[in-house]
């Protein structure tokens, strides 16, 4: 199945893109999608312990199962204000 991946701030810079579509196995979770991404962009691995994620514009747990067509956003630690 295909999911749309969005990256923000330093994650976006490290990967060199803000948005991509990737084929992940059926039943993949947000965590699986992240690991898929780290294999492609190893420098993202530094963020494995402190990345947050959102699925379809809602905060989500890494264990959330994905569906075909989902949009998953990976968020580095935030610094608004």
């Amino acid at each position: 199945m295909y999911v749309r991946i969005r990256l923000f701030a330093r994650l976006r810079e490290l990967a060199g893109t803000s948005e991509m579509s990737r084929d992940v196995p059926d039943g993949a979770t947000a965590h699986d999608a992240w690991n898929h991404l780290v294999r492609e962009f190893p420098s993202l691995g530094d963020y494995s312990r402190n990345v947050a994620c959102a699925v379809n514009e809602e905060y989500a747990r890494p264990t959330s199962p994905l569906k075909d067509g989902d949009e998953i956003a990976f968020l580095p630690p935030v610094s608004g204000g």
């Binding site: 969005r6 947050a52 959102a54 514009e57 610094s79 204000g81």
Partner: protein, 160 residues
């Protein structure tokens, strides 16, 4: 009559603090407390030139709504407006404006403080600091809206 501005905004335009302040208040309110965050010219020993703010806007708006809901649960009758900038923000300009309206001033102050603490914890917004000699992404909290420990920290800061 001025159009009523929406309570939660993420914008690349300059923040209108007066409009943020006016957006929340009703006849039953006795107080509006406001907080305006400014871009300052120094940080961690660096001479800051400007900040570029990036946001995941639709999720940021939901985070603002959640913060307002949490505040209304804790301080009945309180309402919030939260406006945040994106893009390049110059030294001295407002990056965030918060207005907390309540029947009573003590609650208005507490809600305003609570809101900025929660914005820093859970709003998907990032500062890219440009300083003399380089640039750096500022990274603070891991955003987790369901983290009760973080919420308690914000409550303690609001109530002391």
């Amino acid at each position: 009559m001025m159009a009523r501005q929406s309570s939660f905004v993420v914008t690349s335009g300059a923040l209108d603090v007066a409009a943020v302040t006016a957006s929340g208040a009703r006849a039953t309110d006795g107080a509006v407390a406001t907080f305006v965050g400014l871009v300052r010219d120094h940080n961690a020993g660096r001479r800051v030139l400007w900040l570029d703010y990036e946001a995941f806007a639709p999720l940021a708006l939901k985070a603002f709504e959640q913060i307002a809901g949490e505040a209304a649960d804790r301080w009945p009758g309180a309402r919030l407006a939260i406006h945040h900038r994106t893009g390049r923000v110059a030294i001295g300009e407002a990056s965030v404006a918060i207005a907390a309206a309540s029947p009573h001033r003590a609650d208005a102050f507490a809600v305003c403080r609570y809101a900025i603490e929660r914005v820093k914890q859970i709003a998907p917004i990032w500062k890219h600091e440009h300083f003399v000699g380089g640039d750096v992404w500022i990274e603070g909290a891991i955003a987790d809206p369901s983290d009760d420990a973080a919420r308690r920290v914000a409550l303690e800061r609001a109530c002391t």
